[in-house]
Structure formats: structure tokens, C-alpha cells
Amino acid sequence: MTIPIAWYLVLSAILFCIGVAAFLIKRNIITVFMSIELMLNAVNLSFVAFAYQWHRLQGQIFVFFVMVVAAAEAAVGLAIIIAIFRARSTLNVDQVNLMKL
């Protein structure tokens, strides 16, 4: 039983677009940040699918680096969210519209 690699790419596209939609719609800054993680995961899936397609290791190595950068990004981003919450006492992105405190 085989399935086409194209299905994995379609799944990746669907997940990425749901991530974009969540990024646009959600108003909570933590959920917006989570939808960025969802988009990164979708791109990782297409990297792994293409690594399978061409039988190359480099695609999987790239996913590894994306994971490392995502971990660093999550740590810094959540620290920024904590700092914003401390300054504004809100997590709604509509109320965080000034750079000046």
C-alpha cells in the first residue's frame, strides 16, 4: 500500500493555512504565538516529505535546525509576552497598539 507524497504536501498546506487564519483571527497574544508554531510545524512536514522524495538527509537536518530556532524563539517570545503583560496588564493584541509605555 502506497500513498503519494503530494498528500503530505497538501496536509502541510492545510496546516499552514489554518495557522495563518488563526494568526489573523485570534486576539490573545499567546494564541497568536501558538499559531506561529503551527506554521513552523507545517513547513517542517513539507521538509520531511521532500527529504523522503529526493532521498536526501539535508531536508531532515534543516528540520532539526528549525526546531532549535523555534525553541529559542519560544523562550524569548514568551519572555516578551510576560514583559508586555507586566506593563499593560492585558493579553489582547488590540490593546497593545503603542510602542510607548
Binding site: M1, T2, I3, P4, I5, A6, Y8, L9, V10, L11, A13, I14, L15, C17, I18, G19, V20, A21, A22, L24, I25, K26, R27, I30, T31, F33, M34, S35, E37, L38, N41, V48, A49, A51, Y52, Q53, H55, L57, Q58, Q60, I61, F64, M67, V68, V69, A70, A71, A72, E73, A74, A75, V76, L78, A79, I82, A83, F85, L91, N92, D94
Partner: protein, 164 residues
């Protein structure tokens, strides 16, 4: 068997992602994102990426999502309220995103004959193969990422600590 596993876990992925979109409370969104990441790990296993499947569970579903749930609980985040900006995003965003996903699916499915067929156990990348490439050809980028992690730790501590 392969088809059943793919459909099951791809369905779980999409259902979890949609649940992330539809839930109002951030902790529900975080838990559905954990479902998405765990089922993506199974899809990586189906594509023969053993190490990445383990790293996905440990790093993403483990470390990153624990950090998210921790911050949600720390800040005591409640349900989000609808505002004017989100209505505009509904009207413009949803059809645009639907068009994009339709176009992408059309192009991928029309290029299906040029792409390979995935079979269970056809191409398995062992951790030793991966580490040979990582530690021989890509040693410098690997070390640079360790510096990046160090900078991220320092930045996170500096940002999250209370200023005096």
C-alpha cells in the same frame, strides 16, 4: 495499513489545528496544539524520520508546549473577547486563506505524477546517518545554534526579570 495510519493521523492533525482556531480559551488551544504536534511525530515516523519523530515529541510537544502552558497559567489568561479588528479578519482572512489552500492543493495534486509514492519502511534515516552529516559537514552551523540558544536564554532571563 499505511493509508489507514496516514488518514488517521492526518485527520487528527487537521482536527487539532481547527480546534486551536475555534477554541476561545488559550489553554484549550495549547492542548490541541499538543495533539497536532504528537500526530505530526507519527507522520514523521511514517516518512522514515526516526530521530525527528523523537525530537518532535521531546522538544515540541514536551519542552515548548510546557513553556506555553506554564505562561498561560502564570498570566492567568482568560477567554479572549471579540473586538472590531477580529471581525475584519473573519471577513477578509477566511476566504483568502481558503483560496490559498485550494490553489496549493490544486498545484500539488496536479504535480502528483512527478512526485514519488511513500511506502512503509522504504527509506529509513537512522540517527547515525543523520549525526554523520550533522557533525561532519554542518559542524559550524550546529555550533552557531548553540550560541543562539545561549543568547536566547540570556535574553529570556533579561526580559522576564523584574526591573528595579
Amino acid at each position: 495499513m499505511y493509508l489507514v495510519l496516514f488518514i488517521l493521523f492526518a485527520g487528527l492533525c487537521v482536527a487539532g489545528a481547527l480546534n486551536l482556531l475555534l477554541q476561545r480559551h488559550p489553554i484549550n488551544s495549547a492542548l490541541s496544539l499538543i495533539v497536532v504536534m504528537s500526530s505530526l511525530a507519527v507522520l514523521y515516523l511514517l516518512l522514515g524520520a526516526e530521530f525527528l519523530a523523537a525530537a518532535q515529541v521531546i522538544v515540541y510537544a514536551g519542552a515548548i508546549m510546557v513553556l506555553f502552558t506554564f505562561v498561560i497559567m502564570l498570566l492567568n489568561a482568560g477567554e479572549e473577547e471579540r473586538t472590531h479588528g477580529s471581525k475584519a479578519a473573519y471577513i477578509v482572512g477566511i476566504p483568502g486563506v481558503g483560496i490559498v489552500v485550494g490553489l496549493l492543493a490544486f498545484f500539488f495534486l496536479s504535480a502528483r505524477t512527478h512526485l514519488a509514492q511513500a511506502k512503509l519502511g522504504d527509506y529509513i534515516v537512522s540517527t547515525s546517518d543523520l549525526s554523520k552529516v550533522l557533525f561532519k559537514d554542518l559542524l559550524l552551523p550546529f555550533e552557531v545554534t548553540s550560541v543562539l540558544i545561549l543568547v536566547a536564554i540570556l535574553g529570556a532571563v533579561a526580559l522576564a526579570s523584574k526591573e528595579h
